[in-house]
């Protein structure tokens, strides 16, 4: 068996730079005898492009040794403590989904059952009224707790960044850390039985490696050569085929959350950034002209939109992202619309899996099998989560949404929905990426209700329950009032 001695990353933009930097850092930190080279392809990033990411993205930054505040400052980034979903079940409807849990379990029965029981008897407060993260987001606060550890809450923030600035910041750090890189194009991918034998670059020179990483984005430049056609289209489940990114002036005071609003032919996201606001429209060209959509969106959100840039989009997924000596990471493996802060999520999950499975030898079929199984299950689970928003929409009379609601969803998702409708229980599966509280917030937010509440809730008398609710509300109100406004917090720190 031959030791793995040389890795080449072929990539561009965030997928390419983050992958190369992550490998560079870990190889150096562990003093590995592995040579790394990054072949940088021309950028695909457009003006105004952005990233909206989950709180878990923080772990990736930790691995890269990036300081949060510096990174936010340099890339015009901002925190978001939640996402507000508007109009998904008819115009005027709305709920706040935070990165936090709602309420606490009593007698080991999930809070949801108590809340639903109270709601059935007339309680007007929404589920997220019992959620510190949601309350803080609505109040425009930056979450800090007076006494860490004294709370049931684990409120956290996702982020959004300006794509160009974010990539430039990471690229600069990677180069400073000694990453060997050159900007080039790939003229030809040469193959052998083992996979890729060499890359012929634009200048005619050849590059070899033991392991090739394809971080070339949607183009999937390397893996497509090895396994052309091995891509599942997810476009019939996700009808969005256009993404339009535009800019609007900065919002003051800064909201502590993003807004994701459904409209006739798609959804529009409003993302507050440090120096401006980014608007992202995800829509279907089959349900209206782009120019009309822009106009309507601009009018409905009451903001003038600058520099709209339209790109084509199609959701897809590669069930086997690791083929022979080539691993596809990020958009080269899976593409999903950024509905729930899922930008860069496939990349992050892929890098984590690779951290545990980086091969010692050039022959790596055993690692590939485990990597593929795990990544496939994880991405299907993410797909199910996003798809649930489409499936459960209640925008009757809009062709786009009626079709989304009428579609047959994968068994895994159908089962989760049915189990929740029947028992108010969230099915937990081995490779879930979104945790039960995320699923619960989504289901409750989408007005899915349960025919059988847990019978054990009756052990707590109604008056006792009401006083427990009151305590929670008081606690949340007091804590949130003590938190700084996001506006002042960022003025001081960024």
């Amino acid at each position: 068996m031959n030791a793995l001695k040389r890795i080449v990353v072929v990539g561009r933009d965030a997928d390419g730079w983050i992958t190369a930097f992550m490998l560079q850092k870990t190889i150096a930190a562990h003093k590995l005898d592995i040579e790394l080279e990054f072949l940088e392809l021309p950028s695909d990033v457009n003006d105004g492009d952005f990233f909206s990411v989950q709180p878990s993205h923080r772990l990736l930054h930790d691995m890269l040794g990036a300081k949060e505040q510096t990174l936010l400052r340099l890339s015009g980034g901002m925190y978001s403590f939640g996402q507000r979903y508007n109009n998904w079940f008819g115009n005027g409807s709305s709920y706040m989904q935070s990165f936090d849990r709602s309420g606490v379990d009593f007698n080991q029965v999930p809070f949801y059952h108590y809340w639903q029981k109270a709601a059935n008897s007339g309680l007007k407060l929404p589920f997220e009224a019992f959620n510190v993260g949601a309350a803080a987001a609505l109040a425009g606060r930056y979450v800090v707790f007076e006494q860490v550890g004294s709370t049931f809450s684990h409120a956290s923030s996702g982020y959004q960044f300006e794509a160009r600035a974010y990539i430039a910041t990471i690229a600069k750090a990677a180069i400073a850390a000694g990453l060997k890189h050159r900007a080039t194009g790939i003229h030809q991918v040469k193959q052998s039985d083992l996979g890729i034998s060499a890359l012929v670059l634009s200048d005619g020179s050849e590059v070899t490696a033991d392991l090739f990483i394809d971080a070339s984005g949607y183009e999937a430049l390397l893996i497509n050569q090895l396994a052309s056609g091995a891509v599942e289209s997810w476009a019939s489940a996700f009808p969005v085929d256009r993404l339009i990114v535009a800019s609007a002036p900065k919002l003051t005071p800064l909201p502590a959350f993003n807004q994701i609003s459904a409209f006739k032919a798609g959804w529009v996201g409003i993302y507050p950034l440090l120096n401006k606001t980014t608007i992202n429209i995800a829509c279907s060209s089959k349900h209206g002209k782009t120019s009309d959509v822009l106009e309507r969106v601009s009018a409905s959100i009451g903001m003038k939109l600058f520099n709209p840039v339209e790109t084509l989009f199609a959701a897809n997924h590669r069930p086997n992202p690791w083929v022979k000596n080539c691993i596809a990471l990020g958009s080269a493996a899976t593409n999903l619309e950024p509905l729930d802060g899922t930008h860069l999520l496939s990349l992050h999950l892929g890098l984590s899996a690779l951290r545990g499975l980086l091969p010692q030898y050039t022959d790596c079929a055993a690692e590939a099998a485990i990597f593929n199984r795990s990544m496939n299950k994880q991405m299907e689970s993410v797909r199910d989560y996003l798809l649930a928003r489409y499936k459960l929409n209640k925008r009757f009379g809009d062709a786009f949404w009626d079709a989304a609601r009428a579609q047959t969803v994968p068994d895994t998702l159908a089962y989760r929905i049915d189990l929740f409708k029947s028992r108010g229980v969230i099915a937990q599966m081995e490779d879930d990426v979104f945790i039960p509280e995320d699923w619960l917030a989504l289901f409750v937010g989408n007005q899915l209700s349960t025919s059988n509440l847990d019978a054990l809730i009756d052990k707590i008398p109604d008056d006792e329950l009401m006083s427990k609710f009151q305590q929670l509300l008081t606690y949340i109100k007091t804590e949130v009032e003590k938190m700084p406004l996001l506006q002042s917090y960022t003025e001081m720190t960024l």
């Binding site: 068996m1 793995l4 870990t26 930190a29 562990h30 003093k31 590995l32 005898d33 592995i34 007698n107 080991q108 951290r355 545990g356 499975l357 980086l358 091969p359 010692q360 030898y361 055993a366 690692e367 099998a369 485990i370 089962y415 049915d418 189990l419 029947s422 028992r423 229980v425 099915a427 937990q428 081995e430 025919s451 059988n452 847990d454 019978a455 054990l456 009756d458 052990k459």
Partner: protein
């Protein structure tokens, strides 16, 4: 307010009383009424005398005082299981309720240890585990919660007399309003159309009707198998043992805080130390030993005095495909049997109860609750099954025909992959749901001679001298702490000494 659900628990062993007390504790009279039917005549199997750490959560949840329970049940503490002669004759290792060592620079400890294991001055992996060393030295104290201390790296379980534990729970359950009926069940009435169980007729002629039935009737599986005809999934091609002789003997002089399992010609022998006596048994395959020679072998290998006659238990490894069907859930041996090699019987009862409470039955349709319940239990059983098979598969065949057979048997694909990738690079394909995490798999792999040949590349960067230094430090830390840890016997004497 809805009508309370009438729940009938059938059988008064460990499973029956654990179910009854947990149900009673989580509910009240308006939610359900619980009746337990048991027959003194039938008695319980009661081989499951060694437990796993999870049982403490169960006891805490139903409000059991640990020291009272331990006194009542003649309990001792358990830090793990010692496996003797498993893998090869003369081998011995402890599977601890704790971890080995500490990760270094993000590398799992076994990778680090694996790097230098053949070098001079490097001890077996167990020497770097606080739980294992405490076990070997017969010492015990409660773990601390501050992760900075070496004595935070483990948890513990109990050895106890399962019949006394059932009795202890019975007292609790009766206090919490469970109705107990003594009697033998002669007949079961089912609904002609739905097939749901409607009532039980006792020998006395008394009829007990209910909405929901919990079958804790043990190996007979009175309701699930006999009445509802649930299909059995046979796992005996992998787990060949189908008999056990149980033989209690007098107490050990110096009580070890661990269970011992010794591989023998046609199976394995357990030793479970209690305060007042010692549980012994020989689990064997009737294809490879007669009952008589197994009994002889058991008797010859024990030094202590027998205090009762040996008792034979017959079983078959496997489980019923669905633990919950119609209005009946089977909990305990009535839902399946796995030999007590890793003390999983009471754990399986416990998760069955937890899942039942999570999916509490209603009088309306339970079809999705049933589906989810069975999905969760499938997963638990399958994980344990693979882990048990692992113990048999990994051996050098020197113990005889039975072991030759196990060495060469085909194993489930999921398990074969786990073995391959561990050997290749020390990777443990862990999971979030189901029993046995990384240290358990590592214990058995390494303990039974299945070493990694390659490494996680990230573990290759550390210099040998740095690793050795870390290992020595760790070993010193463990020894210093153990020097002021009480002996197991002394700890029992002051915390939970039972009446002699």
């Amino acid at each position: 307010m809805r009508e309370p659900l009438e729940i009938i628990v059938v059988g008064g062993g460990t499973a029956g009383w654990m179910s009854a007390v947990a149900l009673a504790n989580a509910t009240n009279d308006q939610i359900c009424k619980i009746t337990l039917v048991e027959s003194e005549e039938i008695g319980s199997v009661g081989v499951g005398e060694a437990t796993l750490p999870q049982i403490k959560e169960f006891n805490d949840r139903v409000g059991i005082n640990e020291s009272d329970m331990m006194k009542f049940t003649q309990a001792t503490f358990k830090l793990g299981i010692e496996f003797v002669n498993w893998g090869r004759l003369g081998a011995s290792y402890i599977h601890p309720f704790g971890k080995h060592g500490e990760a270094i620079q993000g590398n799992e400890f076994h990778q680090i240890w694996g790097r230098v294991r053949s070098q001079e001055g490097i001890a077996d992996i167990g020497a770097y585990s606080y739980a294992i060393e405490a076990g070997r030295k017969h010492r015990f104290d409660f773990p601390v919660s501050d992760g900075n201390y070496i004595n935070s790296t483990y948890s513990y379980a109990y050895h106890f007399d399962a019949s006394l534990y059932a009795l202890f729970l019975r007292q609790e359950a009766l206090k919490q309003g469970v109705r107990r009926i003594e009697g033998k069940i002669l007949n079961v009435k089912k609904h002609a159309v739905s097939g749901n169980i409607e009532s039980l007729t006792l020998a006395s002629g008394k009829e007990i009707s209910g909405d929901f039935f919990v079958d804790c009737s043990g190996l007979r599986s009175l309701l699930l198998a006999q009445e509802l005809g649930e299909e059995f999934e046979d796992w005996s091609p992998w787990l060949l043992c189908d008999r056990a002789w149980a033989l209690p003997t007098s107490k050990l002089e110096d009580i070890p805080p661990y269970t011992r399992s010794t591989a023998k010609a046609a199976g394995w022998q357990w030793r479970i130390p209690l305060q007042h006596r010692t549980g012994n048994g020989y689990v064997f395959s009737s294809q490879f030993s007669t009952e008589q020679s197994a009994l002889d072998s058991l008797e010859q290998s024990i030094n202590e005095q027998a205090i009762a006659d040996a008792r034979l238990i017959k079983f078959k490894a496997g489980r019923y495909k669905n633990s919950w069907t119609k209005n009946c859930v089977a909990i305990g041996l009535s839902s399946g049997f796995l030999e007590p090699l890793e003390s999983t019987s009471i754990y399986l009862i416990q998760v069955a109860i937890q899942n039942l409470l999570k999916l509490f039955p209603s009088k309306q349709s339970n079809s999705l609750a049933i589906q989810e319940y069975n999905r969760l239990m499938d997963n638990e059983y399958a994980r344990i099954r693979d882990f048990l098979i692992l113990h048999y598969k990994l051996n050098d065949g020197s113990l005889g025909d039975f072991w030759q057979h196990c060495k060469n048997m085909e194993i489930p694909k999921s398990l074969a992959e786990k073995l391959e990738i561990f050997k290749r690079r020390g990777f443990v394909d862990t999971y979030n749901y189901g029993l046995f995490s990384l240290p358990s798999w590592v214990s058995v792999f390494i303990g039974q001679g299945w070493f990694q040949e390659g490494f996680d590349p990230f573990a290759l960067g550390l210099a040998d001298e740095d690793i050795t230094l870390q290992l020595n430090k760790l070993s010193t830390k463990i020894n210093i702490k153990l020097a002021d840890t009480p002996t197991h016997q002394a700890f029992i004497n002051q915390y939970c000494a039972a009446k002699a």
